[in-house]
Amino acid sequence: MHISEGVLSAPVLITGAVLAAAGISVGLKKMDYEKIPQVAVLSSAFFVASLIHVPIGPSSVHLILNGINGLLLGWMSFPSILVALALQAILFQFGGITVLGINTMNMALPGVICYYLLRRLVNREKKLISLTAAFACGLLSVFFSGSLVAVSLLFTEQSFMSVAKLIVVAHLPVMIIEGIITLFCVAFLHRVKPELLGGIYGKAT
């Protein structure tokens, strides 16, 4: 879902960059000493995730893992994803430097939305609720990302609905796989390190 360079017009690029910069500054403010390693680990997970290709469906799609990133990091997801995308652009030529802002925005915002929507449910004691919420988080964040990409392309491609449909259909397998991955991550963290899920801002469960 990386948008290539030269596709978008300048106003879209600038809007994306400004919004991303706002998110990044909020994220950097929240990032304290203990959180830095966590941000780095999730950043590198996001960095390698896009190399894992999902060979199902009509188009070339890959894992994104922005759901678990947003769920664990909240606003810190913005700097985390920015770093990963910048390195992908430099090392792999995915996306590009001029589209870095809008791509960061498209990938990080859904995670933050999921953080606020689903965080409390994920923290519930009841396993069923918690794991369902985790699955929904993985699934929805990819869905929102797809919608945001469609919105960004609104000004260059013909119709919003056809592009959005195309992206969402292409990413259906990824959405389900990401849901399952997020579910397993959350189940694992519940057992091994529940405080990561619990009080990210210092508040326990």
């Binding site: 879902m1 990386h2 948008i3 290539s4 360079e5 030269g6 596709v7 978008l8 990032m31 304290d32 000493y33 830095i36 390693p37 941000v39 780095a40 680990v41 950043s43 590198s44 997970a45 960095f47 390698v48 896009s50 190399l51 894992i52 290709h53 060979p55 188009s59 070339s60 799609v61 890959h62 770093v83 990963a84 390195l87 992908q88 090392l91 792999f92 030529q93 995915f94 990409v149 960004s152 392309l153 491609e157 592009v163 195309l166 992206i167 292409a170 091994v192 390190k193």
Partner: protein, 197 residues
């Protein structure tokens, strides 16, 4: 101390898990398209694929001239190929639009078209059909050599573009992960210094 030890273990575990995941899922593939075009006679052949080798099928191909005016457009077939007659003797810019924000382009300079076109026209005129004798001019010999070199080098050119379309290598991936951890170190250093001051 105990707590710090735990989180280090956690970081290391995730790190190795991610390496395992990448190495298990070779060949690595991802989201980037490329288009490759070559002139053969009066036709231009293009080939489009995603990085990692998957063909870009049914994708839109646009051809522009030097001034940015669109000359023609078409769709790639199910092998990711699209070919068209040379519309105009000019620098051509061939743009692939694979949808969902994927775009790539390939430029063909006017000189390349001229050379390829020139040879094929002479060939059609039957100029090379006579037995070759010592009367061949320098120009004709050069053209003959050019033509056969073109043919011989085509697989090499193809190989080079194919190697360009390969996914990222393990070195690059590990390098990227290394960068992220390096940045983490820098961030920790500055936060820590702020704490002490």
């Amino acid at each position: 101390m105990e707590k710090r030890h735990n989180s280090t273990m956690y970081v290391l575990m995730l790190f190795f898990a991610s390496i395992l995941i990448i190495s298990a899922s070779t060949p690595v593939l991802a989201h980037k398209v490329i288009i490759f075009a070559q002139v053969e006679g009066d036709t231009i052949f293009t080939e489009s694929k995603f990085s990692g080798g998957r063909k870009a099928t049914g994708a839109q191909v646009l051809v522009f001239d030097r001034e940015g005016k669109q000359l023609l457009e078409g769709k790639t077939n199910n092998k990711g190929e699209f070919s068209f007659k040379i519309p105009k003797l000019t620098d051509l810019r061939i743009v692939l639009n694979a949808g969902m924000g994927h775009k790539a382009e390939w430029r063909i300079p006017e000189s390349e078209i001229k050379e390829a076109g020139g040879i094929s026209e002479k060939k059609r005129a039957g100029e090379y059909s006579q037995p070759i004798d010592a009367a061949l001019s320098k120009q004709e010999i050069k053209e003959l050599i050019d033509e056969s070199l073109d043919r011989k080098l085509r697989p090499v050119v193809r190989m080079i573009t194919e190697s360009q379309s390969k996914g990222p290598s393990v070195t690059e991936i590990l390098g990227g992960v290394g960068y992220i951890f390096g940045l983490m170190g820098v961030a920790l250093y500055f936060r820590n210094r702020g704490k002490k001051a």
